[in-house]
C-alpha cells in the first residue's frame, strides 16, 4: 500500500496539469478580451444606436400651419386644436354595488354620452370589448367639450390633441382657399399651391424612457430642435367683395335655374384679384369634398368667349386703320351666308356704324369688319390680350384655353373667331383681357397673393384706340345697349355682354337651348378702377339666357358695393337727376 501523501502533495497538480489549466484560463481571458475589443471597437456605433433606441425616444414637435388671410387681414383658414376622446375599456367601469355610487355613475355615463353625442347603447357598444385599450369614442371634439368630458373624472377616459384646418368663411372662398387632407397636406387651392410655405418645419425633441415607460425630458439642450411655424399667406381677395359677388351670383343662378355661375373681380390698377367665386360651392370643413363643384371653374373651365371678343377684334381693325368708328357696315335683314355657313344675329339691324356693331352685338357686323383684317393680325392680337396663354396666377388646375394657330384657320374660322367662336378661354382670361381697356391699352399681370413688388404691364393697344373702344363699351350699357342692366347708379360703366351656345356633347354641333351668358365690364369709365367678368352656365332658356340679363345685374350690384367701399368718386350723369330729386333705375338693375 502506498503511503498517504502529505496534504500539499495531495493537492499539488502535476506540471502538465498546471499548464493545461493556465492555458485554459489565458484562453478564456483572450476570448473575453477579443469580445470586448469587438464590442467596443467594431460594433460600438451599432450598439450605441440600439441603446439609444431602447432608452430614448425622438418625438416630433409639430409646427403651426400658417394662416390664410384676405387683403384686410380677415381670417380665411386657420389650424385649430381639436381632440379625440379615447377610452381604455379595461379601466372604464360604470358599475358599483353601492346604489348611491351606482346612481352617480349612471349620471356620469349619461353626461358622457350626451357630450360625445352618442346614445347610451352606442357608448356601451364601444366599451364592450374590455381587451381594447385605446378605443376612439369620438374625433374632432372642441376644446370646451373636451374640458367638460375630462371634468367628469371617469377613469380610463383620456384625450389626444390634433390640429384640424378650419375655414370660417365656408363656401364663398372655398374654391380659392382649397382644403387640406387628413394628413394636413394641401389638396386644393392656395392650401395646395402654398403648401410648403404654410406647412413650416417640424422640430424634434429627444426624451428618455423611464422604468414606467413614460417619456421624460433629457436635460441636454442639443436634444431639442424647435419647430418653425408656417408662414401666413395674405391674399389679394377682399372678403367683403368676395361675399357680395358670391351672394349676387347665387341669386342669379337660382333665379334663372342655371347649373352654375362664376365671377372674377380685378383691381384694374394693380391686377390684383379682389374676388373670384363660383356658385354652387362646397363646404371645405366637411368630409365629403367630392364632385364637380370642388373645381375653381373661373380658372379650370373653358367656354367660347362669344361676343366679349368683338371689342378686341374691332380694336385690331381700328389699330390697323381698316375701319373708323363711323364706317357703315351692312348687317343685312337676315342671316349672312359666308363660305357655305350662316352667320346670324338675334335681330336684323340693317346698315349700322362700326360703333353700333358692338352696342347691338352684331355677329354679322363683327364678321364683316374682320374681313378687312388678316388672320395673323387677329390671332396675334388675341394672344397679346392673353388668350391661349395661362394668366400667370399659378392657380392649381389653371388651363390656358385653346386658340388655334391662324395658319390652320379657314375663312369661316377667321370670321367666327371675330365674335368669339371656334376658340375657348377661362373667365379669368376674359377678365384679364379687359384690363387693357382699363389701363390705356396695357395688359395687367394678375395676382392672387399679396406681394410688395408690382409687375410690369405690357402694351397691347394704343391709348387712342383704347379710349375709342372704351367709349363704345360705355354705349353697351345705354338704354338701347345689350348691357343696360349692368349700369351702376351714379357711375359711368362700360362692358360687353356675351351669349354663347353650348356644344351639344351628344349630337355634336351647338345645342339649341343650352347657353352661357357672360358680362365683362369695367368702371368708372372716367378712371377705371375695377374690371369684372361674370359667367352664368346653362340657365333655363324660357327664364332668360342673354348675358346682359343674367350677368348684368350681378355686375351692377357688386360694382356699386366696390365703388362705395373703395370710396370711388362718382362720375355718372345721373348726378344731375339726383340734384333734381329724380329716382334712378334701381329697379332695372335689381337682381
Amino acid at each position: 500500500m502506498n503511503k498517504i501523501k502529505s496534504r500539499r502533495e495531495y493537492f499539488e497538480l502535476s506540471r502538465a496539469r498546471r499548464r493545461i489549466v493556465l492555458i485554459f484560463m489565458l484562453g478564456m481571458f483572450l476570448v473575453l478580451f477579443a469580445q470586448s475589443v469587438k464590442l467596443a471597437g467594431f460594433e460600438k456605433d451599432k450598439l450605441q444606436k440600439e441603446s439609444r433606441q431602447r432608452q430614448h425616444r425622438e418625438l416630433d414637435l409639430l409646427p403651426y400651419r400658417g394662416k390664410i388671410l384676405d387683403r384686410n387681414g380677415s381670417l380665411l383658414a386657420e389650424s385649430t386644436p381639436v381632440y379625440s376622446i379615447m377610452a381604455d375599456a379595461a379601466l372604464v367601469n360604470f358599475k358599483d354595488d353601492d346604489p348611491i355610487k351606482q346612481a352617480k355613475l349612471n349620471k356620469k355615463k349619461k353626461q358622457l354620452a350626451s357630450l360625445l353625442k352618442l346614445s347610451i347603447r352606442d357608448l356601451d357598444k364601444k366599451l364592450k370589448n374590455k381587451k381594447r385599450r385605446d378605443t376612439s369614442l369620438r374625433k374632432n371634439i372642441a376644446p370646451n367639450t373636451k374640458i367638460k368630458i375630462l371634468e367628469l373624472k371617469i377613469s380610463g377616459i383620456s384625450s389626444n390633441k390634433v390640429y384640424k384646418r378650419f375655414y370660417p368663411e365656408n363656401g364663398p372662398v372655398a374654391h380659392i382657399v382649397g382644403f387640406t387632407g387628413s394628413n394636413g397636406v394641401g389638396q386644393e387651392g392656395i392650401e395646395m399651391l402654398m403648401n410648403e410655405s404654410l406647412a413650416g418645419k417640424k422640430g424634434k425633441i429627444m426624451k428618455i424612457i423611464d422604468g414606467k415607460k413614460t417619456p421624460r425630458v433629457i436635460g441636454e439642450f442639443q436634444s431639442i430642435k424647435l419647430p418653425k411655424d408656417g408662414t401666413d399667406i395674405k391674399l389679394t381677395i377682399d372678403l367683403r367683395l368676395q361675399n357680395e359677388a358670391y351672394n349676387a351670383l347665387q341669386k342669379a343662378v337660382e333665379k334663372y335655374e342655371a347649373i352654375s355661375g362664376s365671377a372674377v373681380l380685378l383691381d384694374a390698377k394693380t391686377g390684383e384679384v379682389l374676388a373670384m367665386t363660383n356658385y354652387p360651392s362646397f363646404n371645405p370643413n366637411g368630409y365629403n369634398k367630392v364632385g364637380d363643384f370642388i373645381k375653381n371653374r373661373a380658372v379650370t373651365d373653358v367656354f367660347e368667349p362669344g361676343s366679349t371678343m368683338k371689342p378686341i377684334s374691332l380694336a385690331v381693325a381700328l389699330e390697323r386703320k381698316a375701319v373708323t368708328i363711323n364706317t357703315m357696315i351692312d348687317t343685312g335683314k337676315g342671316p349672312y351666308r359666308y363660305q357655305g355657313k350662316y352667320i346670324r344675329d338675334t335681330h336684323a339691324h340693317g346698315e349700322i356704324a362700326v360703333k353700333d356693331v358692338i352696342k347691338v352685338s352684331s355677329n354679322i357686323g363683327s364678321a364683316k369688319i374682320s374681313e378687312k383684317i388678316s388672320s395673323i393680325n387677329l390671332a396675334t392680337m388675341y394672344e397679346k390680350f392673353g388668350y391661349g396663354i395661362k394668366t400667370g396666377i399659378n392657380f392649381p388646375g389653371e388651363v390656358s384655353g385653346t386658340l388655334r394657330k391662324h395658319t390652320k384657320w379657314k375663312k369661316i374660322d377667321h370670321s367666327r373667331a371675330s365674335y368669339g367662336y371656334g376658340m375657348n378661354s377661362t373667365l379669368i382670361q376674359t377678365a384679364q383681357a379687359y384690363t387693357v381697356f382699363a389701363n390705356d391699352g396695357k395688359l395687367k399681370p394678375i395676382s392672387l397673393i399679396k406681394e410688395d413688388d408690382s409687375k410690369i404691364s405690357k402694351r397691347v393697344l394704343s391709348p387712342k384706340t383704347t379710349r375709342t373702344i372704351l367709349t363704345i363699351l360705355e354705349s353697351v350699357t345705354d338704354d338701347e345697349g345689350t348691357g343696360s342692366k349692368a349700369r351702376v347708379y351714379g357711375y359711368r360703366v362700360a362692358g360687353k355682354t356675351g351669349t354663347t351656345k353650348k356644344v351639344d356633347e351628344i349630337n355634336g354641333g351647338y345645342s339649341k337651348d343650352k347657353y352661357i351668358g357672360t358680362f365683362v365690364g369695367l368702371g368708372p369709365v372716367s378712371n377705371p378702377r375695377f374690371v369684372m367678368a361674370i359667367m352664368i352656365d346653362e340657365p333655363i332658356k324660357k327664364k332668360g339666357y342673354y348675358g346682359g340679363t343674367l350677368a348684368g345685374p350681378v355686375f351692377s350690384h357688386v360694382m356699386s358695393k366696390a365703388f362705395e367701399w373703395y370710396s370711388i368718386d362718382a362720375d355718372g350723369s345721373e348726378l344731375e337727376d339726383i340734384e333734381n330729386k329724380k329716382e334712378g333705375y334701381a329697379d332695372k338693375t335689381k337682381l
Binding site: 389650424s79 386644436p81 425630458v217 441636454e220 339726383i578
Partner: protein, 85 residues
Amino acid sequence: MKLNLILFVVLIVCALTTVNFKHLTRNNFAELDAQSKETLELKDQQTMLRIEESSESRIEIIEKTAKHKLNMHIPTQKEKKFIIR
C-alpha cells in the same frame, strides 16, 4: 505632495461644479419644455379667440346688429348724397 493635495482639491471642486451645472441645465431644460408647452397652449387659445373674433365680425352679424340694435338701414337712392368735386 503639496501640489498633489492642491490638485486633488481642485479636482473635487471641478467635479462638484460639473454636477451642479448639470443639475441646473436639467432644471432649465425642464423649464424650457414647460414653457414650450405653455406657448402651445397660449397659441391654441389665441387661435380660438381669433376664430371667435372672425365669426363675431362677420358682415351678416354686423348688419344684424346695425339693423336691430342700432336701428340703422341702407340708404335709399333719395337719401344718398353725392359730393361733386
